[in-house]
């Protein structure tokens, strides 16, 4: 007797091999049989017309805090994601001494944009060491978690204040090695570090004060476990990024570890960057190094409000001058009819139709509900105004707290991005799930992979796309027994409609502690998600299953 049989689907097993019609049977949390399966099961799921695939793995997330009250990392799970890697970019919630919590909370708020209540009310902060954090999340998991430990918190534990002041002494480096060893033994899947991130005071995070000797010593410990080094290089400068690729490659070769870095974008203003990065990656792989560039599937949107000056207006000198003033003076200018008339005039005869008409009014701020999701062009026409005037008036009417979104402003050229995502050395990831929550949605990149790159442009086959975010990810990270529909592997399974799987429109929700706001995207076309053999999501609803584990 099987526990579950998913029947009559198109089996895309993660290997990249051609899909075939069949069933997938589950017993004791594992895949028990794949193909034509006879025999009874306690539960059957009809997958007629649907794909049966291994659950997706998201290798770059910041769900560290959310997991403490939401073991499904919503809405990641409903998109078919059955395993997430938190603890990226040098930051994790352990190991962390109680006295250092405020510092790290500040750093987390900087990247996650979580409200303070998330740290003060939503969970009982009982641990200091990595095993304690692991146990705290493990009680409540519906999704699998493969956690990284952050270099910045390891440094802070050993060096205290000095972690953000200087390089480490040999004794401190040895202590960091011991601490990292303890974390890896307790279930960390690697170490994350950053050369870019800042704390809430604009100071470099602790990992940025490390010298090469420190990184080398920590990588040696990773080598003892064969574990991953994740890194955020100075991505704003492609030459430095390439130097970091070389550095990561040396560490990979010397210590026999995999390394990965992100973000890697393709923007039309810097069309040589991504190809140069990939060319260097190819050279380093040819030497035997493992240095995986992570690339996201989704395009980048620009969003802004008049509360803070944005470079969106950089071609409009008067706008820049007005918006760079302190708030009071800015409001004064925006309320002055002569100034505003000149600002509008600066847009030329179309009044900003071309530049601003396509802007979308976002919710989650003071924007009135009837405007949310609509274009400024439409709203302006209704008001009998030109878009530039409407932008100013709408903003003024709501204390400037109305956000506007310019969609697809970067990493948006499917004909360029598609071949890169299909590249055998490009690791699809970098979703940043659970980060920047009040700025934009970081969920549903897997749905977008299928809708844009499989269905719409045909840049990847269904089998290839599935492999890229399942078996390949498991192999890159050394996650054993996951990422494939093979007997004996964990029964992490997603059932989806290949004709409709997608991410829905971005929308604001107020489901963070203290009714904090975040942007999310719902899943489309995902019928069922099984985690370690239990149905965690079905027919549009989460179940009570708590079958997620901390996996290694």
């Amino acid at each position: 007797m099987f526990d579950v049989i998913v029947r009559n689907g198109l089996v895309v097993d993660g290997s990249g091999e051609k899909a075939f019609k069949g069933d997938v049977a589950v017993k004791d949390g594992l895949i028990a049989a794949v193909g034509e399966v006879s025999g009874p099961a306690r539960r059957e799921i009809d997958a007629g017309g649907r794909v049966i695939a291994p659950g997706f793995i998201d290798p770059h997330t910041h769900f560290d805090v959310q997991l403490l009250w939401d073991g499904a990392a919503r809405p990641a799970l409903e998109h078919g994601v059955t395993c997430i890697v938190p603890g990226n970019c040098s930051l994790s919630l352990a190991p962390l001494k109680a006295a250092d919590r405020p510092k790290v909370v500040g750093m987390f708020q900087q990247i996650e944009e979580m409200p303070p209540e998330a740290f003060t009310q939503a969970f009982d902060w009982s641990w200091e060491d990595f095993a304690g954090y692991r146990d705290a999340i493990a009680r409540n998991l519906s999704i699998n978690v493969a956690p990284l430990v952050g270099h910045s918190v390891i440094r802070l534990w050993v060096m205290g204040e000095a972690a953000q002041q200087r390089t480490a002494t040999p004794a401190e480096i040895a202590a960091m090695q011991d601490l990292l060893r303890e974390c890896l033994a307790a279930g960390a899947v690697g170490l994350s570090t950053s050369f870019v991130d800042l704390d809430e005071h604009g100071r470099p995070v602790p990992s940025r004060f490390a010298d090469f000797a420190e990184l080398d010593a920590l990588s040696a410990v990773l080598g003892e476990f064969g574990r991953m080094l994740q890194c955020v290089p100075e991505f704003y400068d492609v030459d430095i990024t390439i130097a970091r690729i070389d550095q990561l490659s040396e560490l990979s070769l010397k210590h026999a570890i995999p390394t990965t870095f992100s973000p890697v974008f393709d923007n039309t203003s810097t069309p040589d960057n991504a190809p140069r990065i990939l060319a260097r990656v190819e050279e380093q792989f040819a030497r035997g190094a493992r240095v995986w560039p992570q690339m996201q599937t989704r395009p980048i949107d620009i969003s802004f409000s008049l509360l803070r000056p944005s470079l969106f207006f950089a071609r409009l000198p008067r706008w820049v001058r007005v918006l760079r003033q302190p708030l009071e003076a800015r409001l004064h200018s925006l309320n002055d009819p002569d100034t505003v008339a000149k600002m509008v005039e600066d847009l030329g005869p179309d009044g900003g139709r071309k530049m601003m008409g396509g802007l979308i009014v976002r919710g989650g701020d003071a924007a009135p509900a009837e405007m949310v999701g609509r274009t400024l062009g439409e709203i302006a026409a209704e008001r009998g105004q030109v878009p530039a005037q409407a932008l100013i008036d709408i903003s003024l009417a709501h204390g400037l707290d109305v956000a506007f979104l310019a969609a697809d402003m970067g990493h948006e050229d499917t004909d360029r991005i598609g071949p890169m995502l299909a590249h055998p050395l490009v690791h699809i990831g970098a979703s940043d799930g659970g980060a920047h929550i009040a700025s934009f949605s970081t969920y549903g990149d897997t749905g977008y992979l299928f809708s844009e790159f499989v269905r719409k442009s045909g840049r990847l086959s269904l089998e290839h796309a599935v492999r890229k975010i399942t078996a390949e990810t498991a192999d890159i990270w050394g996650l054993k027994g996951r990422g494939r529909l093979t007997p004996g592997h964990a029964a992490d399974i997603v059932v989806f409609d290949p004709a409709t799987i997608d991410r829905a429109e971005e929308r604001p929700v107020f489901d963070m502690p203290g009714e904090g706001m975040r942007y999310v995207r719902d899943a489309r076309g995902v019928d069922a998600v099984l985690v370690n053999g239990e149905v965690a999501y079905l027919g549009g609803a989460y179940t009570d299953a708590k079958s997620g584990v901390v996996c290694v």
Partner: protein
């Protein structure tokens, strides 16, 4: 006063940053003819424009790369 030749800003454009804000992409030209690109986040980009007295993106061209340092130091 004519000093030694040094890198200058050759051009500037706006691009989407990974955190959803608009960023400034600067093209630098070095005395040896080489080109480089550097990306500044919103605040730094606006500071640079102010430091160069540039009202418009196109007015950044020709300024010394040293304005980048001024820009990042001013408030």
């Amino acid at each position: 006063m004519s000093g030694p030749a040094e890198a200058v800003i050759a051009g500037a454009e706006i691009a989407a940053g990974h955190d959803g804000s608009a960023e400034l992409v600067l093209r630098l030209r070095y005395p040896n003819g080489g080109q480089g690109v550097v990306v500044l986040e919103a605040d730094k980009g606006l500071e640079l424009m102010a430091a160069c007295g540039a009202a418009h993106l196109d007015e950044l061209a020709g300024h010394s790369w040293r304005k980048l340092l001024e820009g990042t130091c001013s408030t």
